[in-house]
Symmetry: C2
Subunit: 407 residues, 2 copies
């Protein structure tokens, strides 16, 4: 018996191995290089498009790192509680209020943390090692030159790279940009993604359903996953399974970077997307040895990538994770981040077909990974799932250690 259950319905002439399918995507995709400037907070999580460079030395001047007295170190030589040095306080330097005086031998300037060290002084005596008596400060401890001082440029040098192009901007990075007066950062534009659910029986969430109709649920999970992956995502109303309609839609949506059709469970839609893409552009890969996700289609129309996802709920989510998230990564130039844990499989996995890559959801319980996955048509394949395992050829056995990717 032929196991090609899609035979006749899906013109999936030649299934590709998952790795080869992904290689076809990777080769076709060039990162989107359009750039925009965004505010500091908006830049977090985006990919930096050009190096953020320090405009000036930091600190810009010699600065006190603690409260105390700016002095010439040589004036404190041998100073102790018993034999304090006595210096004349000639001024006070506060952050934002630098002083113009020059410190000579026998003199001191009171400084607050962050205040500029006046000319002539080379060190700061901590306030707790001093006592002020009228105009004189008694210094109870010796200091070495440059003690308790940050030298000009000792923190950041003009021209230094603060945020490197191609890296994802992190919360702590924007403090570095801000200290150099940057209000905005150049980042790559988010790829614009349009999700189009199809199927005669598919209605928008919240609509009144007639018997036999279902809600468009797939779009939401797919959209949220793609937004998480850096996309600017929009969901369209469900489209009827109609070749002309699908073709007309494909013509119209080429302003987007990525268009994702999700087949209704009704027959036809996946074919129609394939036919429309063949006619208006090129199908680059159709059919993959991935379970679930076999009928997945990848093509290009003009500069727009078009993907056809299978309509079964577990398939559409699994293919989004396994195929579209890497695709988004290549499109955004964003490095892949892994969130994985190790666990021990609690039961054998059976029915594994050689050459296929399997995506199976699992629940984590006391270090055990329990398979939650039921079938491509079941929502419950994701119910209570903490993550998923991926394997190929060899069926993992009970007691085996597996890497669980967290959802």
């Amino acid at each position: 018996m032929s196991v090609d259950r899609y035979g006749g319905m899906h013109p999936v002439s030649k299934l590709l191995d998952y790795e080869d399918f992904m290689e076809a995507l990777r080769k076709a995709i060039r990162p989107k290089r359009a750039v925009e400037k965004v505010g500091l907070m908006e830049a977090v999580g985006r990919v930096c498009a050009s190096d953020v460079i320090a405009k000036s030395d930091m600190p810009p001047f010699w600065r006190a790192t603690f409260d105390g007295y700016a002095v010439k170190a040589e004036d404190t030589r041998g100073a102790s509680r018993e034999v304090p040095a006595k210096l004349r306080v000639i001024d006070t330097s506060k952050p934002g209020s630098p002083v113009k005086v020059r410190v000579h031998r026998g003199e001191a300037v009171k400084v607050f943390t962050g205040g500029e060290i006046p000319e002539g002084a080379d060190s700061v005596v901590l306030v707790e090692n001093t006592e002020l008596v009228g105009e004189l400060v008694k210094v109870y401890a010796e200091v070495k030159p440059s003690a308790n001082i940050d030298a000009a440029g000792s923190d950041i040098r003009k021209g230094e790279v603060l945020i490197r192009a191609g890296t994802v901007v992190r919360p702590t990075d924007i403090s570095l940009a801000a200290c150099q007066g940057y209000k905005e950062i150049s980042v790559y534009q988010r790829p614009s993604v349009l999700i189009i659910p199809t199927g005669n029986e598919v209605k928008p969430v919240g609509a009144k359903l007639r018997y036999g109709e279902i809600y468009d649920s797939n779009s939401h999970g797919v959209a949220a996953l793609l937004r998480e992956a850096g996309g600017e995502v929009e969901i369209s109303k469900p489209l009827k399974d109609d070749l002309d309609l699908i073709e007309a839609t494909v013509r119209k949506v080429t302003t987007h970077d990525l268009v994702v059709f999700i087949g209704g469970s009704s027959a036809g839609a996946e074919d129609y997307v394939s036919v429309a893409v063949s006619k208006l552009g090129k199908v680059l890969a159709h059919g993959v040895r991935l379970s679930p996700g076999r009928p997945t289609l990848f093509g290009r129309v003009g500069e727009t990538f078009v993907v056809g996802l299978p309509g079964h709920p577990a398939s559409s989510l699994a293919v989004t994770i396994m195929v579209l998230k890497p695709l988004m990564m290549w499109l955004t130039g964003r490095p892949k981040t892994y969130r994985t844990v190790e666990a021990v499989l609690d039961s054998d996995i059976t029915g594994v077909e050689k050459g296929f890559t399997y995506f199976r959801t699992v629940r984590l319980e006391d270090g055990l990974a329990k398979v939650v996955y039921r079938s491509s048509s079941m929502y419950s394949s994701f119910l209570g799932a903490d993550g998923y395992i991926v394997f190929r050829d060899a069926a993992p056995k009970r007691g085996e250690k597996v890497i669980v990717n967290l959802l």
Copy 2:
């Protein structure tokens, strides 16, 4: 010599161990329980406030999982390519277009994936195991009862919990909510956070600086970290170091859940926050054996938590990570997530004082963790850092394995 460099300036009468300081916070904080309904996409990453329950069985009816013919299994007994069963096709069932006929012995109904199984039928023969000849379908293979069918309620049962209260809503969860017609999900409100930079010398980013002035950079990194931790975050203009002004401000901001003052590097601000909080509410902890971060203050005014962060750039970011992120976790009821890697320390860490908890930024290179941290006053303590290590009492040695928390 006393090492209490803040003596006299900061009324930090009794430093708490980091663990005790955090315990004081944890005991004071009750999660914010105000609830709001938000759209599915907005719900992702938020904490679910009440169980999302299945309203009805899924699938609502017996459904074909593949294209084929709905039949009585007994009619296919012994069928083969040589001796096919021949059944009369009486109707077609498509998703969204159920049929009213009943299948009797000798009859079949063409079904598409997702279509309802008509009464009388108990299984589906896959289309590739059939051939249609006029009104008759030749069935080339035997099927067992319930083959290629999802029974009503076999996926999800009415009343089943789809998203559990108290968990963070994930992308795949919203597909489950959508399939049951939920357009919105109840989530806990985000804590509202106000960040107030202080310091006479501190100017908003982009302002024209006079000599000795600096940009408010700390607020941005702190704000982005707290937004990442689930807060609705606002940054106020920098405030002058003035007790009356700070007191008047504390009076005004009690509509927020959390107010974070960031001390300018100028003297005074941290004291003033402490004085104002003591007067209008209660200081719950002030001073922690944390490096950097020693002068951190935690108090309450009415229902508002007030935090005073040290103004040095590396301190404000470190304390946000070490103190405010857990605080936000308790406030939002959100579980802590770890992103860590193991690495080998590339050089000894020295100068560790017993009882203190240390936060030290590191760069990762070929499995090695190289300390990047320089001092609390240096922005460059975070420049090029991939993560940070935390340790107490024992100074980690070169070659030792350390857990690096990624930034």
